[in-house]
């Protein structure tokens, strides 16, 4: 290491040091790496850097020159330290950019999945139907699936050998004490329970499994229905119609056209089929509505007075209406599922597609 004996030497050395520093830090950043930058820092501002040595060497100068010389060294030291700070920031930014530039990920690799499960589409559809009804004041209730002849048929105005029993193929269980027991063929049995066990006035919705002895592309033995019942004084068809239009408008999220068509169910009189304007073609006619412009969604009617009588309600004081529909079909049309049975095979990728809803 060079040293000095007189002020002029020091001045020369300092000038030389300044120029060396400028050269070292003025080179292109590309030529540097972390080790070389550390070398530069140590060389110009480390404990053993020439500036430190020269500070120590001040003692060798005559006392009257020391102060001036010390100021000169310190001036350069300050310059180097502040410039070095700038240089290091610049270098670190450069080095980080260079590192990040090399770290780009392959966007086309398979996405790691977020491990949610999914609700069953029919459960989703059930919720979609029940919620507007709850807002409209219908209490969501439940009932048994294994039913006696009384609740499934008798109380619903379907006496033994009535032609209406032909409409539904029933699963029979063994009989006990002269009563036939069946798997309920419609959720209407819950109406009978509610009328007998909860009393009137009544405003309920029930959804659940029902069973019929049929199995093909469009029929499965175990399916779900939803059904509503209102019983109060002075209830009539006009009230039913209003309730239906509010309900379907809520379900489809906008006002929908509704059509009632006379039909027959043993538990209601008069009875009607509920048609809703096809949501695919808006009435123009398409494949999903078989070119009729309408989708048959369910049945409705005024509660048959025999049902009220059987359930201990005075039909001369109280009246009511009921409506119901199959949920599986609504789920099929909402989720564009063509084979009903696909909903029951438990295929993971298929079911997962329905998400948490």
């Amino acid at each position: 290491m060079s040293t000095y004996a007189q002020l002029s030497d020091l001045e020369r050395l300092l000038a030389e040091e300044r120029s060396q520093f400028r050269t070292a830090t003025g080179t292109s950043l590309e030529a540097l790496d972390d080790a070389r930058v550390e070398d530069i820092r140590l060389r110009f501002s480390g404990r053993n850097s020439p500036l430190q040595e020269w500070l120590k060497g001040l003692r060798a100068l005559p006392p009257e020159e020391r102060k001036g010389a010390g100021a000169l060294i310190n001036a350069l030291k300050n310059d180097i330290e502040s410039e070095l700070e700038v240089f290091l920031v610049r270098y670190r930014a450069y080095a980080e950019d260079k590192r990040l530039a090399q770290e780009s990920d392959d966007l086309t690799l398979p996405l790691p999945e977020v491990r949610f499960g999914s609700r069953h589409p029919v459960a989703v559809a059930t919720r979609m139907l029940v919620e507007p009804l709850q807002r409209m004041g219908f209490q969501y209730i439940d009932g048994p699936e294994i039913e006696s002849d009384f609740f499934n048929f008798e109380a619903l105005n379907i006496p033994a050998d009535h032609p209406a029993r032909e409409m539904q193929d029933t699963f029979f269980l063994a009989s006990a004490k002269g009563m036939e027991w069946v798997l309920r063929t419609q959720t209407s049995s819950v109406q009978a329970h509610a009328l007998k066990e909860r009393g009137v006035p009544l405003k309920i919705v029930c959804a659940g499994y029902t069973y019929r002895n049929e199995y093909d592309m469009t029929h499965i033995p175990t399916f779900r229905q939803i059904e509503c019942l209102v019983v109060d004084k002075g209830v009539n068809l006009a009230h039913m119609r209003h309730t239906l239009s509010v309900f379907f408008s809520e379900v489809f999220g906008r006002p929908v056209k509704l059509r009632l068509r006379s039909s027959y169910f043993p538990f209601t009189e008069p009875s009607a089929e509920i048609d809703v304007e096809c949501q695919q073609c808006h009435g123009a006619g398409c494949r999903s509505c078989k070119h009729t412009g309408w989708l048959e969604l369910g049945g409705c009617g005024l509660v048959n007075r025999n049902v009220l009588l059987k359930c201990g309600v005075d039909p001369d004081v109280y009246g009511g209406f009921a409506f119901g529909m199959g949920i599986d079909r609504i789920a099929m049309s909402k989720f564009a599922v063509s084979d009903l049975r696909a909903l029951y095979e438990g295929d993971v990728p298929f079911l997962k597609d329905f998400h948490l809803a």
Partner: protein
Amino acid sequence: MLASLKFVERFVTLPRVLSEARTAGGKAFERYDFDLGVLAPLLTRQGFEVESVRIHGEPFDRVVVGRIEKAEPHPKAEKLQVCQVNVGESVLRQIVCGARNARVGLYVAAALPGASLPGGMEIKEAKLRDVESRGMLCSREELGLPVNAETDGDGIWELHVAASCGLPEEHLARLVGVPVFDALALRDTLLELNVTPNRPDVLCHEGVAREIFVGLGFLGLPAQWKTPSFAPRFSASETSVLTDACTRTSVEVGGRTLQATNRLGVSAFFGAVEGVRVVPSPGWLRATLEALGQNAINNVVDASNYVLLAYGQPSHAFDVAKLKGTLTLRAAKEGEVFLALDGKERVLVDTDCVVADDASPQALLGVIGGDLSKVDASTTALVLEFANPHPVAVRRSSRRHGRKTDSSFAFEKGIDVAARFAALCELVGLITETSPVAPTWKGAFGSKISEERDPAGVSFVDDKEMAKTFGPSLGAGCAVDPSVTAVKDCGAHFATAGWLAWSEARSARFACVWNASDLMRVAGAELIDFDKQIWLLGALGFGMQAPFLAGAVGGQTGAGAQAAAQSAGAVRVSFPHWRWHDVSGVADLAEEIVRVVGIDKVPSIPLEGATVAAKDDGHLAALEALAARAAAIGYTEISGYHFMKVDDLERLGLEHVCALGEPLALMNPIIRDQPLMHTTLVPNLLRCAQRNTSFGVKRGLLFHCTRTYQNFDVEGTRVFPSNGEGIGLEARLGELSAAVAASPRGLASLGLADYAPQSAFPYSREPSLALRPAETPRLAGIAFGPREEKQWNNAGPQGWTLLEIASHALECAASLGVTLRLETLGSSHPFAPALHPGRRAAILSDSGAPVGWVGEFHPATLRKFEVTEVTFGFELNLTNLLKEVDLVPRGGGASVGVAAAHEAGTSNVSSGGSGSATTKKRVVAPLRFPAVSRDFAFLLSESVTAGELAAVVKESLTGAAASGVRSLSQVPANLVDIRVFDVFRGKGVPEGHKSVAFNVTVEPCERTLTEKDINWLQARVVESVKERFGGDLRGG
């Protein structure tokens, strides 16, 4: 119901519209079809949905009337003729024809090029053996029409033959070039109507016509009712037939005395006719039947079919000469052979009802006649049977023998018994009309009720019940109607006479008063004026009287009554006999009016009173919360049919089919090998896993949340003693079920074990749930295959562990705010054999109630279900879980305090479905000082469990092992967690030992902890572990 509008037009005028106008054969051709634009919506609106429309004859537009002007032999083919045919064109058309009856002057059906015939034949200009042929002369068969060899021959259709639906030649001459179906007036419109089961009266053409008549009248369109009756051709009157049937027991016919005995107790009478000439039916009758897809046989059989199609009145004609001895209505003998009209031999059983002569059955009652006594060309004397068999008997015989006829269909749906005598008059009238010589009426006679009664036909329900339901269609019903007992006592003619009195009593009873305000009450609007309402009911056949008018004693009828009714605002309405099946009061009349006006015309009026948003019954919200949580933590919800196979539980490795409680058996399962209602959700889940793995989906989490069922009620009483009957499982289920109850491991002896029927859910609020089969809601989940597959961002596939799956089950319960815990699952648990013996656990509530299990499935179980991947599962009994949040009363089972539970349920759970009932977990406060965390590792003996270690550490810090205590004894801090994070065996660890590393986290509650505090904490942990387990600190 297939309705021919041409047939309907016999009863009522129908609107027609010009559907086509063009030039055909050089002449203007106009075609008027029935106006479906009016008729179809009308029928649909009134409740008879038009399911399809078909035009009879439409495909044959290019098959026209032609006349053969010239016929020469084909130069090269002996059997062919070259015909020059006039089809109304300017030149004759050359057509080569192979039929022998092709001859000059014959009017024929000529198919022109472009026509397409049934069977897909396309007519083109072609060369036949080098001779050009520009069309084809058709036979009836080639046009899809039935052929009767006797009248039609075997060649081409000769259009001038009346019995082949033809026309006289002078008419045909004007129709050359006109499409054949139009020329012969065969074109028809056929509607397939959906007739609801309450309206059997619309299963005939008169019924359809009546609906159309009312509909057109209501719309203000012209409609004229016609009475196309043949009864005037008949010498006797309805009254005399009725009287005969009630008073006579035999008749002289065909040179002998014919009698009938009735051992069935169904009402039945007969008519006898002599001097009949059996010939082919006239063209109009044949065409009517053929349009509806039926074959014409002869004038007698066709007349019977016509009366059925027109009025819905089935009957059967026997050839008297072919009957031996007395006619008997009786039950068939087991194994008796019956040769039916369709030529098939059927072996009968003793619940079939037949009409037999002394030798053998001659008809399967209500279903089909016999071949031995059928009416054919040789017949001269007839006996016409009008019986009213029981609908169910007919339905069962018809199904049993695989033969559904128009007659059996009519009986099944219910016939109008009041019109039986009128129907006989129509039938004889039509036979008279179609016979070359008028036959002689020999009178009607009733069937003699035998003292002996065969049980057949009435073995299903008791007589009383049947009579209530079907009334007059069952003669035996008379016995319950007091007004009829007298008739019964008078003996011999019970069946018919009793029926008559019954129907009279009924007609008096079938009436009600209709008020002007009634429609308002039902529909919320008047819809139409009162006088229009009355008109409408009248047009449907209802009778009107105005009984409340001063001076109108006895009631007025007709127009006078109508006027009077209008001013009174009320009218007495009697129901027509064809509506006795379904009309019983004011509500039915309102329905009639609403139906014809259109229920769609009802206005929309909001319900009165404020609407308050309602909520779920408590348990429904809880189930929703559970399922939502299961889905949120990664499980996919499946749905199933709730059935199981007889050997499903054995396949799981369980002892037998009743190991989880006795399953309910279906008497008529639809999926043959799944006749039982499931008692666990696991087999179906494993099948789903199997399906997924076999389709290449090698990992997944599935859950199912639904009910399971048992043949026990909630008190543990067996419900159906004959469970399994009809499918041959009765003995086996009974035996095994009893064995379970008796064994010390029995479900009942487990008290509230998760598969005991005592944990059924009270779905019904009946006062007692005794003898109601148990329905228990369950949540089951399975995890098949690895947790992670090998992917670019991991080191390789990783399997699930028992504790991970257990935490899933516990996390589901946490959605209700319930904390559950794990315990060893003993081998006495009914599900234990299905699980890995070292990787299974019982899930219990805090109070120790069994809620379910979790475990890895035993490899043997997985092999039986053909699941190739390692699979874990859990199943929770949700009733026991709901008890923890007071949605079901605890202890004593569901039968106690059902109502109280429901009250609690509805008030405790919010409608949001979050299931936040009685939350037990304290809410953690946000940290105010930095938490302190220290790791320790000890060398411990293998026998020390993580749970024991944690308890000791906890006690050392808090001074108590109780679960609720959190505050540290010496330092102002709370214990947050003691968590084992590593268990190591192997290098550096002596045999029989393990290195257990754990972490202790505390949360200061007053100030930041000092060095001294932390030293105390470390020292306490190290000392206590050393003291208690002799464990050496390895680091920390």
